[in-house]
Homo-oligomer: 345 residues x 2
Amino acid sequence: ADPRAVAEARAHQDRLTKPKGSLGALEEVAVRLAGAAGVCPPPMPEPAVLAIFAADHGVHARGVTPWPQEVTVQMVANFLAGGGVANAFAAQAGVSVTVVDIGVAADLPDAPALVKRKIGYGTADLSKGPAMTVDQAARAIEAGIEVARDLVAQGARCLITGDMGIANTTASAALVAAFTGADPGEVTGRGTGVDDATYERKVGVVREALRVNGVTRAGSEASDALRVLAAVGGFEHAAIAGYILGGAAARVPVILDGVIAGAAALAAAALDPAAVDHCLAGHRSAEPGHTVALTALGLHPLVDLELRLGEGTGGLLAHPLVCAAVRVMHEVATFDSAGVTEKPV
Amino acid sequence: ADPRAVAEARAHQDRLTKPKGSLGALEEVAVRLAGAAGVCPPPMPEPAVLAIFAADHGVHARGVTPWPQEVTVQMVANFLAGGGVANAFAAQAGVSVTVVDIGVAADLPDAPALVKRKIGYGTADLSKGPAMTVDQAARAIEAGIEVARDLVAQGARCLITGDMGIANTTASAALVAAFTGADPGEVTGRGTGVDDATYERKVGVVREALRVNGVTRAGSEASDALRVLAAVGGFEHAAIAGYILGGAAARVPVILDGVIAGAAALAAAALDPAAVDHCLAGHRSAEPGHTVALTALGLHPLVDLELRLGEGTGGLLAHPLVCAAVRVMHEVATFDSAGVTEKPV
């Protein structure tokens, strides 16, 4: 982050016609984005784009979720037809939606909003060995970087992360455990709805995945981060990590959605710690691993409404809040300009 | 609330292409608004209007805030010129802004966005006797009802509460204490920024106000609620209570801002308990009395970002979230219509 822009942003906040600090966490959002962009006020984060990275997971075979795998491809079709919750939230926020096939276990027909970057027909079962080869993970990251680069080239000034992948909270839990050192029991959640027996199995599968792949805790080297991401991640996690890196490289803010994005951001941060400066936590999901990830990333969620849907829905809800925080820096009068008496010190 | 619309809304939520309950608190928002409107899906809460009720307070003389009283009228001018944080947030959310002079201690020039309903040049000092006569309080309520009615007649389909009044968190604390029975020490906060000595004085003033006016705890009769509101409230509290009643009468949702709105909603609820069905808590402010008020009202805040500004800023931030919650009911595909496989029971 640019320390001069940060200092300028803080000083500007204090000149505006409001009590100092009275916008709470939103003041920090504006200051953070000024530091990331290297300019005060930071650019308005509009227009924004949601990229939903869709992929399947070999670990689905272990019964970690009651949802059939084909729901991934069905929901991709639903997004492309405009019928998902993410579509409704995006329409409300004036955000456009791109769906990226990064590894769905089916061939998809062409569609205007679909970007085809399939690395494979779903990952391998992470509880039996590496989910991806290191080469696959690297190619998924590269695809994410390119998606971000292309969207920014087309005019996007804010990137929102989205995901679709039945069983992807299992891979997320494994990634969060690997990158933070937390116990699988602490970071595994009930995803989009599993019963007690399935939950116990899911925790066991995460534990097994870490053991089988020889992952204790990811080291601080990029090569180790890539190995861990390949071993226990998903195609969408790798691609979202790349999308974050691509947004950061373009100095465009990235609003993270829930636990899948949080897990991907941990991988991105391991590859390039400075990338996190460009990230905002859109929301806190109901998944316990998400809170662990956010704490490790040092991010504070903007929305906290017990969502557990994914798709980018939490990131979309946060977008108007981020815009509001930045707009204050552009439009609000100062005590001087408005002739408002300042509080005596 | 209409039980049939509530049941229909819950059933519709469960048919949509998302795991049951996965939109967390936003599902409850949509269900609540269906019940309040008596129709499923509930109407989109657009266009929305923010009404900022501005007034001064005799208790300012007791030194409960470091801000000079003239800041109220200066900020009214700032809102009318479009320079306040509320203006920036409203512009972001596509919400129009109306300022109502319900009791500013100065004469205001005409302006297109200003509604003149002045009841007096500030209230009397609530720590010495009643802040308002019962007649003044009733007229302020009536003004609020009429503002709501007029805005709805002009097309508003969502009303957001706003306030401006230096020292109005002192009256809010007294109202919250009176309507909930909480101790003044529990519900008095630091407002827009007071030091320890001022804070102690402020708590003492609230305690004195309740004692001097013979208010222990407001009874359940409307006449007593009106007496308490007049004794320790402000013109803007009374007007906002009326604005809530007016919105409820028109079956239009009312998004409450912070502690001033929370205190006013307690008065509105005492006058007509069913009015609360039409209210949503936009946010939770940093003021301790606000949390006490929300608990008493049974409302869950949508935004929780440590704002302590007032003006309607917290309500404005919540508006896109409320729209998103309702839009889901109108636009998201069902499992049947989208051909998505439902989770086996």
